[in-house]
């Protein structure tokens, strides 16, 4: 074998081994059982995509189709061979009555049988024909070939000049309306509680419509046309709740409650650069304050107090609207109170202390059962009302969340360019330099915490009104992580990014209800991959994106918007400096 052949073989074997690990993992988490008869083709598809991603990055194989094909074939056959042996081993164990499930929870006949496209009983009786194993090897070898063809085709395509797409630039502007039309076309708003496919598709389409609307709003060029487009998009957004059914509206409601929260966190993390891992604290303060006001009868301590003052305890103390300023003030104060002790902390330390705060508040809510009714929670929280009409149904909650998110987005947008907003950016880039230029660090930091907390409090109040019952578990660390992740996935410091992030992280999992089990690992893996491939987020704020591009070098996948920016040397030299 010549040298290139050797190289191809070695590369192929390594890739194949990785693919085998991937396959083993997917089998152990029980994916084949879920895919039923499609298991093997789907796994082969996954492997083909994996090979393609690996092979297109191997420049030493460039242009040599023979060695590329060889590499891929080697990889596929190796992965297939190992995989066939592994599954055969498990099948053997199961057929001999070994309870593999005691160790590997998902290695059950049903899961493995899907790989051979047979009934589970066939496995246990040991009547499996060797054709099934050959099928595995064959399909995975085929995956290798397909991947090689893909890479070769891609390289050939790239060498050719593609026709200019400038004439079609208006097309993305139309997309949200097309999607909306599809939502309408897919059926009238009947009451369905998820589960049915058509409803799920409508939900997905609605979310895609919102997402593409954001892209369209961003892509539009300045001018009169843009105003019209924005007005149309806004009208479509307001109309959306009336097109969806209860389940879809309730999902969209929670998405936009998280948008509200994400916009607040975006101020703390994105604008001011203060990494807050305990942001749920303010969310829970908002929710609990409203719950105390709207459902005092759930809290033993409050009942005692109110009776002591001779007040009625059966109904809410104040209405949703009157509670708004109260929650905002309390949450904002909470932000200042938790902000004061951490004024001196930076970076990671700040993250961990805020995480500690978040947990402390949750533990207090869990254990102060006199006040918060402990794990039994506060129940029957009154929904907002307008003139006697209750706004508690999912559609109205979605509308309220939309209004809240729009309001917060507007405020945040105005703040970004304000004196305070610029002070935040300066502080984020370099605290010492910011202080030297006359920025009052204490005030600036506390304002970031307070305003962020205030928005989270608002989101919390709406959340409490939506849930009607709240429990300490609703406010675990995972809420903080969700909020932070959606800010980061969307693009730090970017307001439209927050909406996209919330749609991707809170909305998509609802669509994926069917594969609920794999929700969190998919999300976790996405988080890691996102940080590696595109750390600036889906829709980065222009400034942030540029910083990361400077630092990430060639690794970061650079969006074209950024390249059009004028060079600003001063900013990047600051950004390069480690804190």
């Amino acid at each position: 074998m010549n040298r290139i052949g050797m190289l191809a073989a070695r590369h192929g074997l390594r890739t194949g081994a990785l693919a085998f690990v991937l396959l083993t993992y997917l089998t152990l988490i029980g994916l084949p059982g879920r895919l039923a008869d499609l298991a093997m083709p789907v796994l082969a598809g996954v492997v083909a995509i994996f090979f393609w991603l690996v092979l297109r990055r191997s420049p030493q194989l460039g242009g040599i189709y023979g060695s590329l094909g060889g590499t891929a074939l080697w990889a596929g056959l190796l992965a297939g061979g190992f995989y066939a042996v592994l599954t055969a081993f498990f099948v053997g164990l199961l057929a001999n009555g070994v309870r593999v499930q005691l160790v590997f929870d998902k290695i059950v006949p049903q899961n493995l049988a899907a790989l051979y496209a047979v009934m589970p009983g066939v496995l246990l009786s040991g009547e499996l024909s060797p054709v099934g194993w050959l099928r595995q090897v064959g399909l995975l070898g085929l995956a290798g070939v397909v991947a090689a063809l893909l890479v070769a085709g891609e390289r050939r395509l790239r060498r050719r000049q593609l026709p200019s797409l400038a004439a079609l630039r208006w097309l993305p502007l139309l997309l949200p309306f097309v999607l909306l039309a599809a939502v309408i076309g897919l059926g009238s708003p009947a009451v369905t509680f998820g589960g049915n496919n058509q409803g799920t598709i409508r939900l997905l389409l609605a979310m895609l419509a919102v997402g593409s609307g954001i892209f369209a709003a961003r892509a539009a060029r300045p001018g009169g046309g843009r105003r019209v487009l924005w007005a149309l998009l806004a009208a479509a957004l307001v109309g959306l709740p009336f097109l969806l059914d209860q389940f879809q509206n309730s999902v969209m409601g929670i998405v936009f409650i998280f948008v509200m929260m994400g916009l607040g966190l975006n101020i703390v993390v994105g604008f001011a650069g203060l990494l807050d891992l305990g942001y749920v604290a303010f969310f829970s303060i908002g929710a609990y304050v409203y719950a105390f006001l709207a459902a005092p009868f759930s809290s033993p301590w409050l009942i005692a107090q109110l009776q002591g003052w001779g007040l009625p305890v059966s109904g809410p103390l104040v209405s949703f609207w009157l509670a708004l300023p109260l929650t905002m003030v309390v949450a904002g104060l909470g932000g200042v109170l938790l902000g004061v002790p951490v004024l001196r902390l930076r970076g990671d330390y700040l993250a961990i202390v805020t995480l500690g705060f978040g947990e402390i508040i949750r533990l207090f809510m869990l254990n102060l059962s006199e006040l918060t009714n402990g794990p039994r929670g506060l129940l029957n929280i009154a929904p907002p009302t307008v003139g006697g009409y209750s706004l508690g149904n999912p559609r109205d909650i979605f509308l309220l969340a939309l209004a809240g998110a729009a309001l917060i987005a507007l405020v945040a947008n105005r703040m970004d360019g304000s004196r305070l907003g610029r002070a935040w950016v300066a502080m984020r880039e370099d605290e010492d330099v910011a202080q030297a230029t006359g920025i009052h660090l204490v005030y600036t930091k506390l304002m970031a915490f307070a305003i962020g907390a205030l928005f989270a409090g608002l989101a919390g109040q709406l959340y409490a009104a939506r849930q009607t019952n709240i429990f300490p578990e609703n406010f675990s660390l995972f809420v903080s992580i969700d909020a932070l992740s959606l800010v980061i996935v969307g693009g730090m410091g970017s307001i439209p990014g927050v909406v996209l992030g919330a749609l991707a992280l809170k909305g998509l999992p609802e669509v994926l209800r069917g594969v609920d089990e794999y929700r969190i690992i998919t999300f976790a893996a996405l988080l890691v991959i996102m940080m590696i491939v595109r750390p600036q987020g889906i829709l980065p704020s222009l400034r942030r994106g540029r910083e990361l591009q400077e630092q990430g070098g060639s690794r970061a996948d650079q969006p074209s918007v950024l390249e059009a920016l004028p060079d600003s040397a001063g900013e990047s030299s600051l950004a390069k400096k480690e804190r």
Binding site: D105, R344, I352, P535
Partner: protein, 339 residues
């Protein structure tokens, strides 16, 4: 500003002292209670130390919080559990004392191997591609990795907690006066001390240890001196994960169960311990961990608050330390240059 913080610190200390004197000591627990609680605290502290060292080592070199470290420990706990089941299946635990000891040692070793494998993979997949990125990026990646490890274990091994069986040899304990001393406690404490000593020797005496310290001081200069920085970083992860794996197995014997999220809280506590001692500082992590173990064991009774607030105590310690002495008790030795 600074004197105000110091003043506040003194006030907090005085308040705590008053609370201990007025409530905790007034309860009138017997001396044996305090002694056995102290022993519990030391045992717990020993385990925390093993985990805390991993945080400190990685932070000292990469200046990042390895958020998934607790889960690496949990994986060690699982590997140890399966190894133990294997020895039970082979019948070693029914054999003579020598076999039992061998099986226990091998259980710890298996736990260490499992964790090392997880740690290396973690570094290679989730952290190495991000070196040189802004500090928030690896932290997010670490959070993702942590969730991924937890829920992968949940999916692969199922929800049911796995119960460690203690061999009869180490079950029980002895009485010294009124104080009951369990054998597992002694073993856990001794094992963690031995491992910590080994780590200290590796870092201070071996060639790789010297390279580690050099890389912690300054990566690029170290590279210029002919040190393979990538290799040293991998070695750091191996050391930290091995200790965490041992910690996972010991914690398994201590708590008797492991499950998919059993790494999370100990991980946070160990991180607290590392910060308490001064993150990046190896002796600091050990001291901080022992101290945190003691605070947790003695705190609730000394302050006269219900034990449900145990976790609050740990977090409060973290918050207080960071506010009043952010560099920890012994200060950041390794990362002084970057502070």
């Amino acid at each position: 500003m600074r004197w105000l913080v110091r003043l506040l610190g003194v006030v907090v200390l005085l308040l705590l002292a008053w609370r201990v004197a007025a409530v905790g000591l007034a309860e009138g627990y017997p001396a044996s209670f305090w002694i056995s609680q102290t022993l519990n605290g030391l045992v717990l502290g020993g385990v925390y130390a093993l985990i805390a060292l991993g945080y400190t080592l990685v932070y000292g070199i990469l200046l990042m919080i390895n958020f998934a470290h607790g889960d690496v420990m949990m994986i060690g706990g699982f590997t140890g559990f399966f190894a133990l089941q294997l020895w039970i299946g082979v019948g070693w635990l029914d054999g003579s004392a020598l076999w039992v000891v061998l099986a226990l040692v091998l259980t710890v070793v298996a736990g260490m191997l499992g964790s090392v494998l997880a740690g290396i993979t973690l570094e290679r997949v989730a952290y190495r591609p991000l070196r040189g990125a802004p500090r928030l990026v690896p932290l997010i990646s670490a959070i993702g990795a942590s969730l991924f490890l937890q829920y992968s274990v949940l999916l692969i091994f199922g929800v049911t907690p796995r119960a460690y069986t203690r061999p009869a040899l180490i079950e029980g304990g002895f009485r010294a006066g009124d104080v009951f001393v369990p054998y597992t406690g002694i073993i856990i404490f001794i094992v963690s001390l031995v491992l910590m000593l080994a780590l200290y020797l590796i870092v201070q005496r071996s060639k790789l240890g010297r390279a580690m310290r050099a890389v912690a001081e300054d990566k690029s200069t170290a590279a210029l001196m002919g040190i393979n920085v990538d290799q040293v970083i991998v070695f750091t992860f191996i050391l930290g994960s091995a200790l965490a794996g041992a910690g996972g197995v010991l914690l398994g014997f201590h708590n008797t169960v492991v499950k998919f999220n059993s790494g999370f809280i100990p991980g946070l506590k160990a991180f607290t311990a590392a910060v308490l001692g001064g993150i990046g500082n190896i002796p600091g992590a050990m001291v901080g961990a022992l101290l945190l173990g003691l605070i947790e064991a003695l705190g609730p009774s000394a302050l006269g608050i219900p034990t449900e607030y145990k976790d609050i105590i740990a977090f409060s310690v973290l918050v207080l330390i960071l506010i009043f002495r952010p560099s920890g008790l012994l200060g950041e030795v390794l990362s002084e240059k970057k502070a």
